[in-house]
């Protein structure tokens, strides 16, 4: 059996661990790292993390099973997360999830297509994705697709299944689940480019734009920063 975790992955693991005062803090990033290699957290992935951090596999499993983003079965090329929390749901999130579920013939955390192959999609309903002013939202590989409708979500999934990669509303050009998992591990092979991309929707800037229009400002700051307060005498 060949080890799926190659020298590059081991090297990256060392880099991640070196960032922290205590090595165990690197466990969450390392679980993202193994997911970037295999597309899920396998038993082998658990063992890899345990070996790197000198933990038991039981300790690593306990952590891996706690967090929603660590998937225990192989995922699709893309993971589609539909917010179905109250606010998104009332604006159409529940309908979007149901339509995609029916269309793909899968339920929560199930994959349509052969995992890892082009156009394969893992579907999930997500909790609040912190984009409520842009509701209803969904994410593909954690990139934001804002102000969705049943129709737009269906069109998006059709494109993904054809192997296309429609640009997110906010975020970097779409890649795939494994690629973004590497970034979540803290390894950014192409940050110079992936940091670009649209990030402020009209909704994001509504207050700031309205203030500009009406000439509203925060109170003016003094011309130079004021002196710091005097400290009471130390006893």
């Amino acid at each position: 059996m060949t080890d799926v975790f190659d020298d590059l992955t081991r090297q990256r693991s060392k880099e991640i661990i070196a960032q922290y005062p205590q090595s165990r803090s690197a466990l969450l990033p390392l679980l993202h790292l193994v997911q970037s290699v295999e597309g899920f957290v396998s038993q082998g992935g658990i063992r890899f993390c345990a070996d790197e951090l000198e933990l038991t596999t039981a300790e690593v499993s306990a952590v891996a099973t706690f967090y929603t983003m660590y998937k225990r079965t192989p995922c699709g090329e893309h993971i589609v997360s539909v917010c179905t929390n109250t606010l998104c749901a009332v604006l159409g999130g529940d309908d979007i999830y149901k339509r995609l579920s029916d269309k793909l013939g899968v339920g929560h955390e199930e994959t349509a297509g052969e995992p890892g192959t082009t156009g394969s999609i893992t579907l999930e309903h997500a909790e609040c994705l912190a984009a409520c002013d842009l509701a209803p939202v969904l994410q593909v590989n954690y990139e934001f697709y804002d102000n969705q409708s049943v129709e737009s979500a269906e069109t998006l999934v059709d494109a993904l299944q054809r192997g296309e990669k429609p640009h997110p509303t906010r975020g970097a050009p779409l890649t795939d689940f494994k690629t973004v998992e590497l970034e979540l591990a803290g390894i950014f092979p192409d940050l110079e480019h992936s940091v670009e991309g649209p990030s402020t929707a009209p909704e994001t800037m509504r207050g700031a734009a309205l203030a500009s229009d009406r000439g509203w400002l925060a109170p003016a700051m003094p011309d130079s920063a004021p002196a710091f307060p005097e400290l009471p005498e130390k006893k």
Binding site: A131, C132, G186, P222
Partner: protein, 433 residues
């Protein structure tokens, strides 16, 4: 009186490439740091105390006081390494202010982190960002890289002799990690479960060392306070709730979005700014600060949305996540959806929360699906009573807020839903032996 909207945190958001260090430096960026490094650290703590800045993550704890709790000194507890941890695990339903802040202006957070670390004498800072917030993670990581390249991070920052490293840490999908002690356990590579307090993070936080945990918006406010001073900051907001705050308005309004106003703005004013109710359909209920803050109704349009005002009216300011629902929305349904969320996110450590949210979700689901009884309303209140104050952290308390407040204002809607049920009990599927 300041203007209705007072962009401080959001003032750079409209600038091209507002997230890059070039734009940030053109717009006063890192000037506060240069000034701060000329202070004694305790003067910075005093400045933030004087400003009255209160935590923007929901609890509203005075920030300067929190910093002042960190033991200092060459011996004893003060001799341990100290840490700054930024809570960027934004996930409270309705809350969507930190993600746009990190996307549009990550350097205000980084500059705030450096000033805060200098004030509390920390040499390591971790920014814990929820994993689903991938693009903010990139932007913050890029900002950290840019700051290192300019000498704002690393060793001997701007010749001050002060050293600081910042690591950007991605979470992995757990709402509970927004609770500060669960976040610390998670950052230590464990399941994100809250710790019993005391001891508090100020003495026993990350790696059992003195730690300040602050929200993104709190720390991003610090550079402006250094540049403007405490008197300037206090020109906005009220005596006990000073400063500007990002109000995230979502739901059934014409123009949902981020509106930065002095603390104390009302929903009536926010609705005017946001173009009113969508399609003119009347308001039914709303949250002042996320789903964990008790619901308000149309009675509360003029409640000042600051820490005291929201509390006096029976709710909490929370994260100023103003979710607006019109009269087409069923209250029991909305409460069921939120309760399903708390059930999913309960970490399972404390029995009242773990079991209580499980049973509450089942009762609400049964009710919404047509099999509720009037007694269920009392049962839910009883369960809530057994959760509130009986778990380690505020997740359990938060889970009870939508239910108890919904029953307080909309009891009849729950009862009507039950009265509309068929009289005969529905045969459970598979009940035949």
């Amino acid at each position: 009186m300041p203007d209705q909207l007072t962009p401080v945190l959001t003032r750079r958001w409209q600038s091209p490439r507002s997230w890059s260090i070039g734009t940030y430096e053109e717009l006063e960026g890192y000037q506060a740091l240069r000034h701060a490094l000329t202070a004694q650290p305790d003067q910075l703590i005093q400045l933030v105390k004087d400003s009255g800045l209160r935590g923007r993550g929901g609890a509203g704890f005075p920030t300067g006081m929190k910093w002042g709790f960190i033991p200092q000194g060459a011996t004893g507890p003060g001799a341990k390494p100290k840490y700054l941890v930024i809570n960027a695990d934004e996930g409270e339903p309705g809350t969507c202010k930190d993600i746009p802040t990190m996307m549009a202006d990550p350097h205000s957070l980084i500059e705030g982190c450096i000033i805060t670390s200098f004030a509390i004498r920390a040499n390591f800072c971790a920014i814990y960002i929820r994993g689903e917030a991938l693009h903010p993670i990139r932007r913050v990581r890029n900002a950290v890289n840019e700051a290192y390249a300019k000498g704002y991070l690393g060793t001997d920052i701007l010749g001050s002799g002060f050293d600081l490293d910042i690591v950007v840490h991605a979470g992995a999908g757990a709402y509970i990690c927004g609770e500060e002690t669960a976040l610390l356990d998670s950052l230590e590579g464990r399941r994100g479960q809250p710790r019993l307090k005391p001891p508090f993070p100020a003495t026993s936080g990350l790696y059992a060392s003195p730690t300040v945990v602050n929200n993104v918006e709190t720390i991003a406010s610090v550079p402006a306070i250094v540049l403007g001073g405490s008197d300037w900051f206090r020109e906005m907001g009220s005596e006990k709730s000073p400063g500007p705050k990002i109000y995230s308005v979502s739901g059934h309004v014409e123009k949902p979005g981020q509106y930065e106003a002095p603390l104390g703005i009302t929903l009536r004013q926010l609705l005017e700014l946001a173009g009113g109710m969508k399609g003119g359909v009347p308001l039914k209920f709303w949250t002042p600060g996320g789903s964990s803050t008790p619901l308000f109704t149309a009675e509360h349009l003029d409640v000042p949305l600051d820490f005291e005002g929201a509390a006096a009216a029976g709710s909490m300011l929370g994260t100023t996540a103003v979710q607006v629902f019109n009269e087409t929305v069923s209250v029991p349904w909305a409460v069921m959806k939120w309760t399903e969320f708390y059930k999913h996110e309960s970490c399972g450590k404390c029995t009242p929360c773990r079991e209580g949210t499980y049973w509450l979700a089942q009762i609400l689901e049964r009710m919404v699906h047509g099999e509720g009884t009037p007694e269920d309303v009392e049962t839910m209140l009883d369960i809530c009573d057994n959760i509130l104050g009986r778990a380690f952290c505020a997740l359990g308390d938060g889970a009870t807020s939508p239910i108890t407040s919904a029953i307080k204002y909309f009891r009849q809607e729950f009862l009507d839903l039950c009265a509309a049920q068929p009289a005969a009990p529905v045969e459970p599927a598979g009940a035949m032996a």
